[in-house]
């Protein structure tokens, strides 16, 4: 399975079926993470219900220090 995650192409041996599984795969805590799937923000309450498919573009963001 191929996904473009945070601007990088990632080839995954094991297919992932939901946004929640993508977060888990990359070790990102769900709390205070936000995800964009093909440029649409995903409701955090639906991470485990939002399907991902081959070729999807995913942005995973979270808070950092800033002014």
């Amino acid at each position: 399975m191929k996904l473009r995650v945070n601007g990088e192409d990632r080839i995954l041996d094991k297919p992932l079926s939901t946004v929640g599984q993508v977060l888990d795969h990359f070790g990102v805590p769900w709390v205070r993470a936000a995800v964009e799937l093909n440029e649409d923000a995903v409701d955090p309450g639906l991470f485990d219900k939002t399907p991902v498919s081959d070729g999807d573009r995913i942005e995973i963001v979270s808070f950092v220090g800033g002014g």
Partner: protein, 254 residues
């Protein structure tokens, strides 16, 4: 001073603190304590999977009102995109709107800031726009429904203080939303000056984070802000053209 209320929420502390550039999460946490602040700002970035940013661990989201910014946005569209993601991540509708296409001075784009503000207000955000000290723009942002305006004193991180004083005074005179002087404050005296001009609050980041002793500097800013609040409540005297002797003008030796 009249209470500081933004979007119906009263804030007792008039110093807002940015969370960028601290030497460690521990120092950041101690600085937030030392400032006695209630509102802190954060930025939104791509997660670095191999090296996650540790800043978040220093911020107690139950204790502080954490307001994400849209830093990095160069257009209204980018700012709106970041704001929507920030809302998803924080569950909060507050957003510090920044649209800064100029990489050298990080000056805000007034046209795209207003455009983004109009969209975000319609979507239910509590919008706090970073803006040039332009009274007309402040009025337009207020009319668009922004919850406060945040005019700059001087360029972000420049530590040059309030170079826009005359225009900030006009904004304060005309605004009916809170005025928060943001950007360029380098010394505690700059923060005190902002409040003495009539601003409702200040936002400080670099001056604290990059100081030799950030915690001590954070405390110094707190004292300056509290000092200005006390002074304003004490009723400052009017400026005069001529001297007015403090000592009696009688009983001189001959």
């Amino acid at each position: 001073m009249k209470p500081l209320i933004i979007a119906g929420r009263q804030l007792k502390s008039r110093i807002f603190v940015g969370t960028g550039k601290y030497p460690s999460p521990r120092v950041l946490s101690d600085c937030l304590d030392a400032a006695g602040c209630e509102l802190v700002t954060v930025a939104l970035r791509r997660v670095n999977f191999s090296e996650p940013d540790p800043t978040l661990s220093a911020i107690d989201f139950d204790k502080y009102l954490v307001v994400p910014n849209t830093s990095g946005a160069k257009t209204a569209e980018e700012a709106v995109r970041l704001a929507r993601l920030s809302r998803a991540a924080s569950g909060l509708t507050w957003i510090k709107l920044e649209v800064t296409p100029d990489p050298v001075y990080l000056l805000p784009d007034p046209v795209d800031t207003l455009k983004a503000a109009e969209i975000l207000v319609k979507e239910g955000f509590t919008v706090l726009p970073y803006m040039h000290a332009d009274p007309t723009l402040a009025r337009r942002l207020e009319e668009a429904g922004c919850a406060a305006v945040m005019p700059l004193g001087s360029p972000i991180g420049s530590a040059r203080g309030i170079k826009t004083e005359e225009f900030i005074k006009i904004i304060i005179e005309q605004a009916s939303v809170p005025v928060v002087v943001d950007a360029g404050l380098g010394l505690p005296s700059h923060a005190a000056q902002a409040l003495e001009l009539g601003a409702d609050a200040v936002l400080v980041n670099t001056a604290i984070a990059v100081a030799l002793d950030p915690v001590k500097m954070s405390h110094a800013f707190r004292l300056a802000v509290e000092s200005a609040e006390l002074a304003l409540d004490a009723g400052p005297i009017e400026q005069q053209e001529r001297a007015s002797a403090s000592s009696p003008l009688t009983g001189f030796l001959e």
